[in-house]
């Protein structure tokens, strides 16, 4: 199929990124993503296929595993999200995974269906606390922890990338601007408008 | 000591003697061995039923048994609104009968229930909603109930402080029932209790029903925490406890008990003179004569007897309020509370008879609607207890 000549547009039309010491906000626009949903009773085969292809063990609890150039996010019982950088080579994770999981799982491209932001810095938990109802204290939620929840009524999948701390948050693309409005208000006391 | 009529002369007389002459508004009756009719539940519906029965059937021996005290249940937990701005054929006449009873109630029972026909305004926020309200208004008028469809300018004249230009929920107008309004909810209970008492009804408080006694499929009495009471007929009017009480009689009802929260703020100067409801979320508000803003919203949505709700609905109600009138964000919440109701699909009162035909064992499920108290009692009297 011929490559589209349309320019890619960020899902966030109005989000000001921040490099503030208290809170860094980055939009991750160059991701390739695919959802994996195991067919009924085939989860063990899915895990074996991913183990063989990428050398990682798919998590059965809300966690994230990283392999070489790819991450798998737990996305519900027997479901995962595969995420990688698209890069100059226009990597397409759906095309890559379909043959690996043929017949045992549904693999669907989510690259343009989800919008992802990365938040990091010492005040990130204070910012998230205003809209996310779960406990992100390091004693309760650790690096590679995953939560499917909501932020100010907007459904999100959230995972912790490192102990800086840094979190990445994925949402349906059409909610990106609403999320950005909430995030801007929530972060204002730390980084200004 | 029986109490005389409340009048300007009695009030003046008592003012001069330091209000030392008032007696209790109703007798704290002891249970007698038997009555012709026993109503279980001393809330708005139960007391109204007893009153209208006693008024019409002067010879009947009637009692109301209440497990707690008068005014301690749902009748003290609602948001005081009375209205008949419904749409369906079964609803409008029922609540309009109530409206008419409210209009003459205070003269009828010689009690100031603070009936205040300050208007109920339902806002609409889109063309489609305006059409739906026009249809509701037409339906009301076909039933002989007055109402007016207002545009945004007319609403602005009444309540200029709404967020008319809200980006998501702009106010386009409203459906106004001027005769709707508020009543002092616990005065409804007190007023009906006093009036029923003066017609000879025994109001028996702290008397919990524990069982029914049947003979040949006919109810003959109730066991209570204050002993056995014989009864020719029994009415049940116990709101969210309907399933419990009916289960004592071996009946399973199409009812679930749910919690509905309500809220009141600190007192502020007169601000909202009528009842205003938000059409894009579930939020309704009025201001009490003491100055508190009284408001509520949606059911919590799960079965509950706990008489308290949870935070998500508190948040939802407050968000509705902020979308409609952002200035209330600076007012402090004083209290919130929950009341439990029996609910059926359609959320209207249910009248039902015991399956043993001819036994004249009756019950009535009473739902959340204060506005139905008067007609509920009236209809229960007419349709059930007197058959």
């Amino acid at each position: 199929m011929a490559k589209s000549t349309l320019a890619a547009q960020s899902a966030f039309t109005d989000l000001k990124t921040s490099k503030h010491a208290a809170l860094t906000i980055e939009v991750l626009d160059d991701l390739t993503m695919a959802s994996i949903a195991s067919s009924k009773g085939r989860a063990e085969e899915v895990k074996a296929a991913i183990r063989a292809a990428y050398g990682v063990e798919l998590p059965t609890t809300p966690e994230r595993v990283t392999g070489k150039g790819i991450a798998f996010i737990w996305h519900g019982p027997d479901q995962w999200m595969a995420i990688a950088d698209r890069g100059a080579g226009m990597r397409d994770i759906e095309v890559e995974l379909k043959p690996v999981l043929a017949g045992i799982a549904a693999v669907v491209d989510q690259s343009d269906g989800r919008a992802v932001v990365r938040l990091s810095g010492p005040r990130v938990r204070d910012v998230l606390a205003k809209g996310v109802g779960i406990d992100l204290d390091p004693r309760a939620f650790k690096s590679n922890g995953v939560a499917i929840t909501h932020a100010s009524h907007i459904g999100i999948v959230l995972w912790q990338v490192n102990d800086a701390p840094a979190y990445e948050i994925a949402m349906f693309r059409s909610f990106a601007d609403s999320f950005a409005t909430w995030l801007t208000h929530s972060a204002a006391e730390f980084i200004g408008h | 000591m029986p109490v005389g009529d409340y009048s300007i002369f009695s009030v003046m007389k008592e003012a001069l003697r330091g209000h030392t002459g008032w007696g209790p508004a109703w007798r704290d009756a002891e249970p007698k061995p038997a009555y012709d009719i026993v109503i279980i539940g001393g809330g708005g519906h139960g007391l109204a039923t007893a009153y209208y029965l006693a008024k019409e059937y002067k010879a009947a021996r009637i009692a109301v048994v209440e497990k707690g005290w008068i005014g301690g249940g749902n009748v003290g937990r609602n948001t005081t609104i009375v209205r008949s701005n419904y749409m369906l054929p079964g609803n409008i006449p029922f609540y309009e009968l109530s409206m008419k009873l409210w209009e003459g109630l205070e003269q009828d029972i010689n009690y100031n229930a603070m009936v205040s026909q300050r208007g109920v305004l339902n806002l609409y926020h889109s063309d489609g909603q305006r059409d739906a309200f026009a249809r509701r208004g037409n339906s009301m008028r076909l039933h002989g109930v007055d109402c007016e469809l207002l545009d945004a300018d007319a609403v602005r004249k009444m309540v200029p402080f709404l967020d008319f230009e809200n980006a998501r929920f702009p106010v386009h107008g409203g459906l106004l029932q001027r005769r709707g309004g508020t009543v002092r909810h616990d005065a409804v209970a007190w007023g009906y209790a006093r009036a029923a008492d003066r017609h000879g009804v025994d109001i028996i408080q702290n008397c919990e029903v524990t069982a029914f006694r049947f003979e040949n499929d006919h109810v003959v009495g109730i066991e209570t925490s204050r002993g056995y009471i014989g009864a020719g007929k029994v009415g049940i009017s116990v709101a969210g406890n309907s399933s419990r009480v009916a289960a004592m009689a071996g009946m399973k009802l199409p009812i679930e008990s749910h919690v509905l929260q309500a809220f009141v703020t600190e007192s502020i100067k007169p601000f909202i003179d009528g009842v205003v409801t938000f059409g894009a979320g579930h939020f309704y508000i009025s201001q009490s004569d003491k100055g508190g803003l009284v408001f509520g919203g949606d059911l919590d949505g799960y079965n509950s007897y706990a008489q308290r709700g949870n935070m998500p609905v508190v948040e939802d109600v407050c968000e509705g309020g902020m979308a409609l009138m952002p200035r209330i964000g600076r007012v402090r919440l004083l209290r919130s509370w929950g009341r439990h109701h029996g609910y059926v699909d359609g959320r209207q009162p249910v009248h039902r008879s015991h399956p043993h035909q001819g036994s004249l064992f009756q019950w009535r499920v009473v739902l959340r609607r204060l506005q139905g108290d008067a007609s509920g009692g009236h209809v229960f009297r007419a349709s059930d207890c007197t058959r």
């Binding site: 609890t61 809300p62 519900g76 019982p77 109802g133 779960i134 939560a147 499917i148 929840t149 909501h150 459904g155 | 399933s243 419990r244 289960a247 399973k252 009802l253 199409p254 009812i255 679930e256 008990s257 949505g301 799960y302 079965n303 509950s304 007897y305 706990a306 308290r308 949870n310 935070m311 998500p312 948040e315 029996g342 059926v344 699909d345």
Partner: protein, 98 residues
Amino acid sequence: MRINCPCCGERGIDEFSYYGDATVTRPDLTSPTAMAEFVAYAFERANIPGPHRELWYHAAGCHLWLVVTRNIATHEILSVESARDVALARNANAKGSA
């Protein structure tokens, strides 16, 4: 109220949707008394204070259907099970007794 989701851990009820009595099962449409059975299935409830088995759906989380046993007089949550496991066990029991 907070529900301990078997997948996600303890979450507030803002993430869940309530779907009512978990003990009723859909009657057989071909039964001669199907109408009465469907009325009971759709409407009639015990509705007694105390433990109540009910369906909750983790709508803003992992999308699991749950059978929660909750005291409706106090809101205390007594147990949480996967509705799928409950249904499979019920079907197995039905087959076993047939």
